[in-house]
């Protein structure tokens, strides 16, 4: 049982939650994730990146976007409530060393998992350039926290409501065209964004790390549900990743696999919205 200690709504769809998980807080490293299950009987196991942790208070922070039933149910939890199961830290930590210049690209919710990595890259003595991308101004998260780390920070939005009106690949390409070019790029966000970031850096031969978000169950290498094709080989994201060489990942196959359960997910999402609405009406009605 993990108690929720803090809950903040960062935007219409994005929530930040701090939960008790002392052992995970002690051992986790940048790039690792957890698997969360709200209730043991009927809940789904969903992976979320550890956005931050404090070993002293024994807490970890997750930042998530409400995209379907499980994330909505999580967002409906309040301070003092419990999440029944949290397993972690999972996955291999990010390989951190002094590379030189590192461009960190975060799209949407991907900025949250990027944060500890950017932090660690900075601490290792790298020059850190951060590119934040979002659909619109309301969806830009972690700007202040990233500004604290970044040597240079660029914000782009799809609709131009904040920062530059562009896709993240535009500034990324500009940085790659500079001399000297960056020594490493790290891209985390929706699969399609990571795919195009990898395509952007490829001609410049800038090594590009991506963090994959495939469908998972156990997170321990037992089921193979999280598999992706990397350089023609089948890899398990939970134990071999989650980070891989973006130039070798078969993103198209990965995106197809992410849609495997669309039907049931949409149905549950719908049902879940109804349930949550009824619940909030009952609350207002003072039951």
């Amino acid at each position: 049982m993990n108690r929720i200690l803090k809950k903040t709504q960062l935007s219409a769809e994005v929530f930040e939650m701090e939960v008790e998980a002392p052992l995970i807080a002690q051992n986790r490293k940048a790039g690792q994730f957890i698997i969360v299950q709200i209730d043991s009987e009927w809940g789904e196991r969903i992976p979320l990146t550890i956005a931050d942790a404090d070993p002293k208070t024994g807490t970890i922070t997750m930042v998530f976007q409400t995209v379907g039933a499980s994330t909505h149910r999580l967002a409906a939890k309040n301070v003092g409530d419990y999440v029944e199961n949290i397993l972690g830290p999972l996955g291999n930590p990010t390989h951190i060393e002094k590379f030189g210049t590192v461009v960190c690209v975060g799209g949407g919710i991907g900025v949250a998992p990027l944060h500890p990595i950017a932090q660690a890259m900075k601490a290792a003595g790298n020059k850190v350039i951060i590119i934040i991308g979002a659909r619109n101004k309301d969806l830009v998260i972690f700007e202040d926290r990233m500004r604290k780390i970044a040597d240079e920070l660029v914000i782009v939005t799809d609709d131009g409501s904040y920062g530059r009106k562009a896709l993240v690949t535009e500034p990324l390409k500009e940085y790659c065209s500079q001399d000297p070019k960056p020594d490493l790029a790290v891209a985390i966000g929706p699969p399609i964004m990571m795919k195009f970031c990898a395509e952007t850096t490829r001609p410049f031969q800038v090594p590009t790390v991506v963090s994959l978000n495939t469908i998972m169950i156990d997170g321990t290498g037992m089921c193979g549900g999280c598999r992706v094709s990397v350089g023609g080989e089948t890899k398990f994201v939970c134990v071999d990743g989650p980070e891989f060489d973006g130039h070798k990942v078969d993103f198209d196959n990965m995106m197809t696999r992410l849609r495997a359960y669309k039907e049931k997910e949409e149905e549950d999402h719908h049902v879940c919205h109804l349930e949550l609405q009824i619940e909030s009406m009952e609350h207002k009605g003072g039951r």
């Binding site: 052992l23 196991r45 999972l90 549900g225 598999r227």
Partner: protein, 468 residues
Amino acid sequence: KERLAIPPQEMPAQDPIARGKTVSEVALGYSEAQARLEAERCLNCKNEPCVKGCPVQVPIPRFISYIQKGDFKAAVDTIKETNLLPAVCGRVCPQEKQCQLECTVGKSLKDVGKAVAIGRLERFVADWERENGKVTPPTVKPRTGKRVAVIGSGPAGITVAADVAREGHEVVLFEAFHKPGGVMVYGIPEFRLPKSIVQAEIDTLKKMGVKIETNFLVGRTRTLKQLLEEDHFDAAFVGVGAGLPKFLGCPGENLVGVFSANEYLTRANLMKAYDAKKAATPIYKSRIVAVVGGGNVAMDAARMALRLGAEQVHVIYRRTREEMPARAEEVEHAMEEGIVFNFLRNPTRILGNEQGRVVGMELQQFELGAPDASGRRSPVPIAGSEYVFDCDTVIVALGNESNPLLVKTTEGLVVDKKGRIVVGADQKTSLDAVYAGGDIVLGAATVILAMGEGRRAAAAINELLAKK
């Protein structure tokens, strides 16, 4: 002679058609009268050939003679001298290849199917004990103050926990999943092994004072080294089971609709996806399912797919029925339920549509050649025999490689080429005070073998701690 004339008692089972729609247990178990009749068939052989066939040497003639006398409690206590999980083993042991293979009655009647039904009798007394509230948790000796970490809560880990706790040592059982039980809860389906039976075993452990830490992945949450050096455990047992399911290694294996049996069964069992209304975990909707493999795992996946509403379920196996490693009873049940067996076939590629979803497989035909190293006739592909087989779901049940996580995060733990932990006769690993057993040592094996290794490891741990 008279005993040989008693007909073997059939196991009552649910109707094959009706049961295809529920997940409740198929084999219903003997009645008291049936159990006593079946027990009467045993000849109490002096040389005990059946005992030699059992990996943990259950005192078979002795426990059966108690059933003959109607003393079921004495019977189950006798079994528990060497087998801590009789309700489980009675259901899942491949008896026809172990105890019952050696049975004199079966040999005299020239049919292993007519051997004394040792497994069913074992199940009967274990169920009788549990259902009548006669389970007596083993007595635990006074606390010694020594601590043992048991990693993994499958049959190997459960056995070690019980045997070590009995000696008065403090035991913490670590499990990565949110529920303990290992393959017995996430892999083997309810219709073959009800989860309440595994839960009862776990409850017994708790009554003995064993602490269970779920959501704890040793190697990540804490490393084995941290447990031993910082958390003051005096010894550890590694029973992390198999992992890393094998795939076909052919084109199309990552299409949507291709699953490892582990994934499919975990969704259906542990995550309860069979109840789509309540469970948040989805499972793939299938019309025609092809399961590749011929073991227990393949049978479980096929029969589960049927229960989840598939119109047709096919098993694709490279050899023939004789070579199938699955328990005979499971194959029979699968056939009764209408699962179609396609022998001497193997996929060469999986075919997908524009949406990246499975629409079929290319199968190659095989014939049986000369016996191979395992003594089974090996399948030989027939050139040019490929044809297309329509299906929308492929479940791969070809076994597992070893899970590398614990090994990768534990310096100095020696493994073989296949990643299995290397142990000595007492199950000790290359590390001091660290023992291992079950599938992580044997490769994919059986519940009873995992338990047997657990018992040996526990004995060695108890001996080590007595000296410390």
